[in-house]
């Protein structure tokens, strides 16, 4: 298997596990990038509504060729369709919806997460700053914030840390981390390991995590 294929599989695996966070009846915001992939895995029987922060409540599937409407895009600027119950609003109204915590869940990408729930996912010092877009608002804007990312960086170093080294997107905002290796909850007592992915041991997770882990009493192994 090529490195490329391997990476793609890893992303699929994370997206599939993240899908389980979505309950029927939920209003959900999916961040740009890997979180968008979660949409492809949503089980048919789940009735949920996807919000796009540019001003669409009710994202549908991608359009067929003849169906493309240039006035209809998601927050990743991709052409989309709208679901049957969809409504449009201004960006100010859309972020009012977000900030007012009317969303049940946001699934976002991450660069680093700290044991207190700090999140860094928008800039790397020394690189040109492109902007935070809606990330800083969304991390304060859902009842539950789930971060999905690889467990370690491409250099093999932990991305879950005692303290973030990168500039923050939000302080103490993360509720759960879903990686290719494990599911970890951010709690008042510290990080709690609740699930371990197939192919990994608790020891391996501990070693590849840059902060102490409490092992949940109801730990699930080979969970996904």
């Amino acid at each position: 298997m090529s490195v490329q294929q391997d990476k793609a599989l890893q992303r699929e695996k994370i997206a599939k596990r993240a899908e389980r966070e979505i309950e029927s009846g939920f209003y959900v915001n999916l961040g740009i990038g890997m979180p968008t992939m979660v949409a492809n895995h949503i089980q048919e029987d789940k009735k949920m509504v996807l919000q796009s922060e540019n001003g669409l409540l009710g994202i549908g599937r991608s359009p067929h060729e003849g169906e493309v409407d240039p006035d209809l895009i998601n927050a990743g600027k991709e052409t989309v369709t709208a679901s049957i119950s969809a409504s449009y609003c201004s960006s100010a109204e859309s972020f009012a919806m977000i900030r007012g915590e009317h969303l049940d869940l946001a699934i976002l990408g991450g660069m680093e997460v700290a044991e207190n729930g700090d999140l860094a996912n928008w800039m790397i010092p020394g690189k040109v700053i492109k902007g935070m877009g809606g990330a800083m608002d969304i991390v304060h804007g859902a009842k539950k914030i789930v971060i999905i990312m690889n467990h370690v960086s491409k250099h093999g170093t932990p991305k879950i840390l005692k303290e973030c080294t990168l500039p923050l997107t939000g302080r103490g905002v993360v509720d759960r981390i879903v990686t290719d290796r494990a599911v970890i909850d951010v709690t008042d007592k510290g990080l709690v390991l609740t699930e371990v992915a197939e192919g990994f041991t608790v020891e391996e997770i501990k070693e590849s995590t840059g902060a102490p882990l409490i092992i949940s009493e109801s730990l699930l192994e080979k969970s996904y």
Binding site: H64, V68, D71, L72, K77, S91, A92, G131, M136, D137
Partner: protein, 231 residues
């Protein structure tokens, strides 16, 4: 009742050097593309531009960058544009990044006569530097101030001679709040309709916010065409 222009050049004639302009749109969707083209042709310089993004290299606000007409940009994401990056690195362009929701709310506040408000976005981040942080009900919030502009440029699907506007789908985005936050607002509309043709319950921007209108045809370029293959 409102001024109706027939030439885009005439419509943007009132934009002077050193003006602050707000421009509607998210990515390339909902941008007043003909008004932007006209500014590119007008030679107005030293502009401060408030808009969520700054176009792409050869379209939208990217055209004003190319012409070096912008001194300062206030937005939330400017990553689609190589020339932007070059000008920032060269110190030719000043940038103020604001979280997208705070940007939208600052613009709304500008039009709504609210000088400042508190928001959770940005607390504990580099954005909070130099800003007041205040606790309400045990949570910390950042003080953000309103934004207004000398001239606001918006695009709508429909407009009438009273300045009432209706937007189409996600082309609405920042346009309604930007229309309200300009001292002068110019609306580029896809279709100018007869007065009374729009249902009063369905008007997104009431005419009070709009000073002039112009009808035009848009290219509506697509940034990221995403297609589902037929099964």
């Amino acid at each position: 009742m409102k001024k109706i222009y027939t030439q885009f050049d005439d419509a943007v004639n009132q934009i002077e050097d050193y003006s602050t302009i707000m421009v509607g749109g998210f990515g390339l969707v909902g941008i007043p593309e003909n008004l932007i083209l006209a500014i590119a042709g007008s030679g107005a310089k030293h502009l401060t531009v408030i808009s969520n993004n700054c176009g792409v290299d050869d379209w939208g606000l990217g055209l004003l960058l190319e012409n070096k007409q912008i001194d300062k940009m206030i937005g939330s994401y400017v990553g689609e544009n190589k020339e932007f990056e070059r000008q920032v690195l060269q110190g030719e362009l000043e940038v103020e990044l604001t979280p997208q929701g705070s940007l939208a709310e600052r613009i709304r506040a500008g039009g709504a006569g609210i000088p400042a408000f508190y928001t959770p976005a940005g607390v504990g981040t580099p954005i909070a530097e130099g800003k007041e942080v205040r606790e309400f009900d045990g949570q910390e919030y950042l003080l953000q101030e309103a934004l207004t502009a000398d001239v606001s440029l918006v695009r709508a699907a429909k407009g009438d001679s009273f300045g009432n506007l209706i937007y189409n789908k996600t082309a609405r985005n920042f346009n309604p709040e930007i229309a309200a936050a300009g001292k002068v607002t110019i609306a580029e509309v896809e279709e100018l309709v007869e007065e009374g043709e729009m249902d009063g319950d369905q008007i997104h921007t009431p005419g009070i916010y709009v000073q002039s209108l112009i009808e035009g045809k848009q290219e509506k370029r697509i940034e990221r065409l995403t297609i589902r293959q037929k099964a």
